[in-house]
Amino acid sequence: MGNRSIVSIADYSREKIQQLLDMAAEFEKAPNRRILQGKVVATLFFEPSTRTRLSFETAANRLGARVIGFTDPKVTSSSKGETLKDTIKMVSNYADVIVMRHKLEGAALYASEVTNVPIINAGDGSNLHPSQTMLDLYSIYKTQGTLENLNIYMVGDLKYGRTVHSLLMSMRKYNPTFHFIAPKELEMPEEYKMYCKLNKINYVEQTDFTEDTIADADILYMTRVQRERFTDLMEYERVKDAYILKADMLGKCRKNMKILHPLPRVNEIEYDVDESEHAYYFEQARNGLYARQALICDVLGITPEQIKTDLTIIEA
């Protein structure tokens, strides 16, 4: 069924991305509004994800919508064996937008096919997570003033890291240069390197993570190297400390360089980095609120013009 669902933003045009960035910027200027008054947003978290859920629910609440939903599938009828389709059909009777997170890949696309209510994919397994990508793009755009011609360094787990794959694909149209810094066991999968080649995206692969190797970065995108990803625990022990960002590694970096991280971090960014002007991961998480406000409005057919001329702004 054709509707305005957001399942993936990988194939969005530059114009569409710009529109969403502009909307997010408007929400950053005035996040509290009544533009969604009378609307009901459902947040269906078939798989728990507190961070993403709080961000979406805050986005909806700050725009005046009401929020229904569940945070844990154990309390819902899916634990009784109800199909995803039936749950979506049922909730479609109540809500104007469905934000859903699911552990199975392709769940959001399927959900969007069985209902006319727009679906926002808040993560389907290791497949896609467009709202994270959108907040990453917004963070890059905001800190660099552009998405064009940037040096983006991705560090850590590039094999399983869904966010780095999505970011890579959505930056395709902006002529980026990527540096993939990862241990051999967690290097960027062949299919994404192929994707870069097909789309003429420049990339460099390296295993060294030092002050010198990150000196030319505009964006340093850190990810967590997780123990459970390794088949060889000896290998894990060997590399686990090699991809930790320390404050003394920032001496040679560019002035405009910002450090992003999808969070939660464990130990891959040392706490003394938080004081650095390059640290941006907490602001990045806040940008998630504005990006999600933009996504919710977009699926409801609210245009950037309507947001710019919105009279429902609640002054602080």
Binding site: K85, K103, L104, G106, Y110, G125
Partner: protein, 152 residues
């Protein structure tokens, strides 16, 4: 009059002959076309000698003409087989089987955490590389090769 020894199976008046089936794929074809449930007379032969394959399987179905959809399903199992449409004992049409651009509910996704393996729903695959037989799941995006697929 044709040599009787050369005619190992009875001729069809009307129907379809599926020829050049690789011997190990014969019963998969039977299953795929649901010939086990077919009420018309069906002749199934295997291990005939073939110039092309060495040995081959052969199926004749009386009074049955397969749809393009059924033929495209066949393509998934054996891309090189040929169908002969028979009317009044004559071959009136030969159809080469070829892989379609999209396969609906033919192939099972190899990804255990794909939604299609966990919901009562149809699978959809896009054939992204016909030469190498690469197909991509509409839902989870995982690619698989025609050589090691499982049917729905």
């Amino acid at each position: 009059m044709e040599d009787k020894k050369g005619r190992m199976v009875a001729a069809l008046e009307n129907g379809t002959v599926i020829d050049h089936i690789p011997t190990q794929k014969l019963f998969t074809v039977v299953q795929l076309l649901q010939l086990d449930k077919c009420k018309d007379s069906v002749t199934i032969g295997n291990n005939y000698s073939s110039k092309k394959l060495g040995h081959k399987g052969l199926i004749k179905v009386a009074d049955r003409f397969f749809s393009d959809d059924e033929i495209s399903r066949l393509a998934v199992v054996c891309p090189n087989i040929r169908l002969c449409i028979i009317r009044d004992y004559e071959v009136v049409e030969k159809k080469e089987v070829c892989l379609p651009d999209q396969l609906t509910n033919v192939v099972r996704c190899a990804n255990p955490v794909c939604i299609t393996n966990n919901e009562p729903m149809k699978t959809v695959f896009y054939v992204v590389d016909k030469e190498r037989g690469i197909m991509k799941c509409r839902y989870c995006g995982k690619e698989q090769c025609i050589d090691n697929i499982k049917l729905v």
